[in-house]
Amino acid sequence: MERPPGFSLWGLLVLSFRFVLGAIFLYAGIVKIADPAAFAQAVANYRILPLALVNAAAIILPWVEVLAGASLVLGFFLPGGSLLTAGLLLIFAVALGFDLWRGIDLSCGCFGTSEATVTWLYVLRDAVLCCMACFVWVFSGRSPFAVGNGPGGS
């Protein structure tokens, strides 16, 4: 596999994606931690999780978002952090898409309580962010794409 051309530009792209995604996740997590009851209500309105699990999700998910965001911004556990971010975004997109398809009227709850009703643009937004996270994952740490050019690579 060839190294991508303009490697420093590539690195800059990864870095900017990390900061954008990380900032979004830190913000989203902190807003939800600030008002767990509102977030629990938003989760319940998705009508996907059984009611018994709604509060547990509302207690835990924001902290997972904060950790994923911190991982992206600070660069620790970067492969895991970017994979987790991509996975979360995939879950969000599927949940939103599922409810849109079912015709459930929903406010996102993505950044605390937002009044706007969810549209397919929200799913698109999550999908784009998910692609960015995948990009970061691919080029995080020791890129497997560089192994072919490297010495040995046992």
Partner: protein, 164 residues
Amino acid sequence: MAVGDAIKDKVLRSLLQAALLVVVGALAGAVFNTVRHEGLPWSSTVPAPGAEGAVPSVSAADAWREYRKGLVQFIDARSAGEYEAGHLPGALSLPVEQTGELADRVRIPAGRTAVIYCSDPACPKSAQLASLLSKRGLTGLKVMPEGWAGWYEAGLPYEEKGGG
């Protein structure tokens, strides 16, 4: 071969790290929720529609009968868009997502029962709004579990924004 191994190694390492982040996040969430002033109970506080101890419910047919006697004020817990597309006669729009200040301005005309509804029997919004409003001191609340769908299917009259 080497590339395949490297990718496998990276996937495993990533999964392990991601799992660790989730576990630490769950622990942090649990600890913070325990020590914070107003932590959430682990089991849901939102009463399920029709659950024991929830606000009493009323059927669409009974609600319509009471409404014609002037004893009912309908409250629509759905979004503003759904409300505008069609709502029960004389209903107040009170989307549960934005009840913050709106809820403080709710005035139920004297002698009327507030009957709260959302889209269908499975929707949680009417129960949420009922518990929210009763926490704010409103009494005489009822929930109509059949919701907009049941009302519409029963062929009962409704209003549209602009359409009268």
